[in-house]
């Protein structure tokens, strides 16, 4: 949970300091005045990434040398911590005044889940976005996942670099990376499969918030290792053997093309409505609602895994195209636990009389 936030030289904010309510915070203002920037700042402190850009230097205010974000936060009743990020020529991270050098030691000091317009790309956007959803979600639930993903990515990059230079790197050098690639890759694969199973059992319940009961929403994990649908997710050895075989089978092709054709980096998550792929057959509205349902199911899985409600929900007006019943369901689900930071053009009825309301105008924020 976020207790206070200080933002300097970030997007359109010069310097603002805000104390937050432990339950409901509503940011009201016209578009383009900085509501989403506020959510982005909170998200950055939690995960050291933005949900809008990969170009972090873009977050600096025009003509400023650095931006700085600071917050006071707690997680599940632990003593509160002071986090700060200063991003100038380089990024400097501190927790309680002590320098932190590794991203993995800084992130997830408080846990964030977004409900933002970009979520709909989860269904229809590129497969990269679905893998990113799985990877970020899992890194919030498991520190081992992030470590294995980093090892896998490093081994994969090294392997691809070698595949492109067969004069310098012989077969035996390339194959020396198989061990790390297979071990970390299968660990990633197993956690993703387990996550998809949990997501499905939550979806079974949460899809009724947005879809009529005769429609069944589900997700399916398509492995990047090969057709592994028969292999149960808890058999690591069997999966490692499959991955080794797949690497062997694809080796000639990998060498010819200069990159690795199989592995968790090629995995896909498909979303199905009554077993029809939404990517191919879903309407605009169905995709929008499916992405919301998946986010709620993820939130449910996250709460169970962390065994805690202490999650900060960043909500950027996504209800626009929902009918009243669905809007009511949406707000009721949000209010079922945790901290909400909601950004919108007006104060929703569901939040009236709860928590704090802020007015955001031209990069200034005022408590009402």
């Amino acid at each position: 949970m976020l207790k206070s936030l200080t933002i300097s030289n970030f997007r359109n904010f010069d310097r603002i300091k805000t104390e937050l309510d432990s339950h409901v915070n509503v940011l009201v203002g016209s578009n383009g005045h900085g509501k989403t920037n506020f959510l982005e700042a909170v998200y950055y402190l939690s995960l050291l990434r933005s949900f809008r850009t990969n170009q972090i230097s873009d977050l600096r205010q025009w003509k400023k040398d650095f931006f700085r974000l600071e917050c006071e936060c707690t997680q599940s009743g632990m003593p509160s911590r002071h986090l700060s990020v200063t991003y100038g020529n380089e990024r400097r991270l501190q927790v309680n005044g002590t320098n932190i050098y590794r991203t993995s030691d800084f992130i997830n000091q408080f846990i964030c889940v977004t409900f933002i317009p970009q979520d709909k790309d989860l269904i229809r956007g590129s497969e990269v976005l679905r893998r990113r959803f799985m990877d970020i979600s899992l890194s919030q639930m498991s520190t081992g996942y992030l470590r294995n993903l980093q090892s896998y990515t490093e081994a994969l990059r090294a392997r691809n670099a070698m595949l492109k230079d067969r004069v310098k790197y012989t077969d035996s050098t390339i194959k020396a990376y198989d061990h790390v690639l297979v071990k970390s890759g299968v660990a990633v694969e197993m956690e993703r499969r387990e996550f998809m199973e949990k997501l499905n059992s939550s979806l079974f319940e949460k899809s009724s918030l947005l879809f009529s009961p005769d429609l069944i929403l589900s997700v399916r994990y398509l492995s990047g290792i090969g057709s592994l649908l028969q292999v149960s997710y808890d058999d690591a050895e069997q999966m490692e053997e499959k991955f080794r075989m797949a690497l062997r089978k694809n080796y000639e092709r990998d060498c010819r093309k200069g990159f690795t054709h199989c592995g968790p980096h090629r995995a896909e998550m498909t979303c199905l409505l009554n077993l029809h792929s939404l990517l191919h057959f879903g309407s605009e509205g169905e995709c929008r609602m499916a992405s919301l349902a998946i986010k709620f199911a993820f939130l449910d899985v996250l709460r169970q895994t962390l065994n805690s409600d202490d999650i900060t929900l960043l909500v950027d007006d996504v209800t626009g195209e929902l009918d009243t019943t669905r809007q009511d369901n949406f707000y009721r689900e949000l209010l079922s636990g945790g901290q909400i930071i909601y950004a919108g053009t007006f104060l929703p009825e569901a939040f009236r009389g709860k928590g704090r309301v802020f007015n955001v105008k031209s990069g200034m924020i005022a408590s009402l």
Partner: protein
């Protein structure tokens, strides 16, 4: 005055090339050298100018030393059947401080690192092959870093030397994954040596 006199600036430039020394520290070091006696400064200069001549790589293992052979290779009390393969000579000092290893060493001069263009040809493999061929070695202990590249290098070596009748072992990761072996403490290294394991080839 925005700059120091040129000779001092040059000295600052050199000091700031050392790892962990920033611009400010380099300035303080250079200014402090100004207060030394002429004898001290001239001795400092001699030490530096003869450094390359005076410190060499051991002809057998690649350790840094004064003569042709390093003290470890010259020591008749060491177990010559054991060879511990490390990335850098600096790691030998760490193993020696742990006091729990009495075999010989072999310095690779790095690890496989395709992303920085470093391949098998950039490692001291031919020298290791020579040592294995001249006989007497019964066990190779692979002590490359427990990170992705170090692990891949160990697997590479295990396969590369599998034809020799020598036992190939890998130190256990008493050292956290992702860390640099150069900065591990001696106690951790002792545990890591204790739990070395065989490597499938």
């Amino acid at each position: 005055m925005s700059n120091y006199p040129l000779p001092l600036e040059r000295l600052i430039g050199y000091f700031s090339r050392f790892p962990g020394v920033g611009k400010r520290s380099a300035e303080r070091m250079a200014l402090s050298a100004l207060s030394w006696t002429s004898e001290e400064l001239s001795d400092f200069g001699d030490v530096l100018s003869s450094l390359r001549e005076a410190v060499k790589a051991c002809a057998v293992c690649g350790n840094i030393c004064e003569g042709d052979l390093c003290p470890v290779c010259l020591d008749c009390g060491r177990n010559r059947e054991l060879v511990c393969v490390v990335e850098h000579a600096s790691q030998i000092i760490q193993f020696e401080r742990s006091g729990s290893y009495h075999g010989l060493y072999h310095v690779l001069g790095g690890k496989l690192s395709p992303l920085s263009g470093k391949g098998p040809d950039d490692l001291r493999l031919a020298e290791l092959r020579d040592r294995l061929e001249s006989g007497g070695i019964r066990e190779l202990i692979l002590a490359t870093s427990p990170d992705v590249e170090g692990e891949a290098t160990a697997h590479f070596l295990a396969r590369e030397f599998s034809s020799y009748s020598v036992k190939i072992t890998r130190i256990a990761s008493g050292v956290p994954i992702g860390s640099d072996l150069s900065y591990a403490d001696s106690a951790t290294l002792a545990i890591a040596l204790e739990g070395r394991r065989g490597l499938e080839q």
